[in-house]
Symmetry: C2
Subunit: 235 residues, 2 copies
DNA sequence: TTTCATTTATGACTACAATCATTTTTAAAT
DNA sequence: ATTTAAAAATGATTGTAGTCATAAATGAAA
């Protein structure tokens, strides 16, 4: 979607119906062929082992044409998988058991993402590498869209949980979402780099989420959140 | 250190004094020239703009020789900067104000790391990209060493804080370190990708660390940590 | 239909990371 | 000193991502 466009509809199209001209349709069709070819080859041979020549050949376009649709091979990777990742996240969030404890719900969401990456670890490594630090800034929009979906999904889960568990109501939920996601992300990286097993990852992830949920402190929160730093601690 | 070695000392060296043979010394010296050349060029021209040819030329070695000392250009990047990053982390941890609140102490540590990366953002991007997903698994040892230093540093800070603030004593401190680091890392990525300003990064980082420290819950911890999941919640 | 400007496509070409067959160096053994 | 085996160095060569000058296609205007 929204790829390699940039031209307005012909003047004859006065209404807002998306009647694309032949030119635009050709482009869309070509992009689609590229994405299918790339996805198939990445899955079959792996990202590193697939050459852009092969992709172009299979998509039945010239070598140079490929780079009219993706800025680089890495860019193509994001282009191919972003929708799938967004869909995976959306589905994971929607499937959450409505009455389960917060930490269980979070584990359901992150567990679905982990299962997704588990299907093809080398591919997951390539994807996370590129998502983490983009080689081309224009793809920011897509990554941020994915992040927004995840963060707002987590926020919603926390809101839902706050009606069942004792949760502070004065929180900036975006921060909460980012905190949980950060815990997940570093664990994911450790797993993908082979520092820990999947099982250990899942186990420590749950422990860390509990930790972040319960907090470190023994008593009630010391900082009265909302304004600057430091206030009058001591219980 | 410990780079491109693998040969035992000559038999004449019966003791364990590190009297390196000429061969070993030559290799060390060559490696040193490579690292200096690479560091200078990366700093002057940037990582992407520096060619391995240039590095080899400046180090006064053949093109192929370079790859006897580093598996790839990215590998070289880690080789060049790992000691510096370890040193930065160590120093940051040691410099922490001993009596400051926990969150302030954590901000001192992460702030030092942020300042380090702030000196050269494109280089920081390249470094974080490679550290996050290694292109060569043998470099794992170096990255894990860096992580261990950071995690244990954070653990120590939490231990110190537990004597001044009300902090649970039954925590797995490694998990705590990883949690705080995860919060930092995702923020760092957001900053390096230009999603947020440095100022916003610092501000939200503090907020998230407070959040993780205080926890989400209103009352005392609900889960009796230590064993499986779920127990008998409800206050 | 023909003209013309603009967009899109193409593949020969370039630049560069990384390899590898060959050569050189090293140091131990004789 | 000479031989020999192993280690290290080398640069010509290779594979591939990405570019760019040129060509083809498109559609609006005449």
């Amino acid at each position: 979607m929204s790829e390699a466009t940039g031209k307005r509809a012909p003047k004859t199209d006065a209404g807002k119906a998306p009647v694309l001209g032949r030119r635009e349709r050709n482009k869309q069709e070509k992009l689609s062929r590229i994405l299918v070819a790339a996805r198939d080859l990445f899955a079959a041979k792996g990202f590193a082992e697939t050459t852009t020549q092969e992709i172009a050949e299979r998509a039945d376009i010239g070598t140079g044409t490929l780079f009219l649709y993706a800025r680089s091979k890495e860019d193509l990777l994001i282009l191919v998988f972003k929708d799938e990742m967004i869909q995976t996240s959306r589905t994971a969030i929607n499937k959450v058991s409505p009455d389960a404890p917060l930490v269980d719900q979070l584990m359901q969401v992150f567990g679905a993402m982990i299962a997704y990456h588990n299907r093809d670890l080398p591919l997951a490594r390539a994807l996370i590498r590129e998502i983490t630090i983009l080689s081309h800034p224009e793809r920011s929009k897509d990554v941020r869209a994915l992040m927004r979906i995840i963060y707002s999904g987590i926020s919603d889960i926390v809101i839902g949980a706050s009606k069942r568990e004792k949760i502070r109501t004065d929180l900036d939920l975006t921060l909460v979402g980012e905190t949980f996601f950060g815990i997940y992300y570093v664990g994911l990286i450790g797993w993908l780099n082979g520092y820990i097993s999947k099982q250990a990852f899942l186990k420590t992830l749950r422990a860390k989420l509990s930790l972040a949920t319960d907090g470190l402190r023994v008593g009630k929160p010391a900082t009265p959140r909302g304004s600057k730093a430091s206030g009058s601690p001591k219980s």
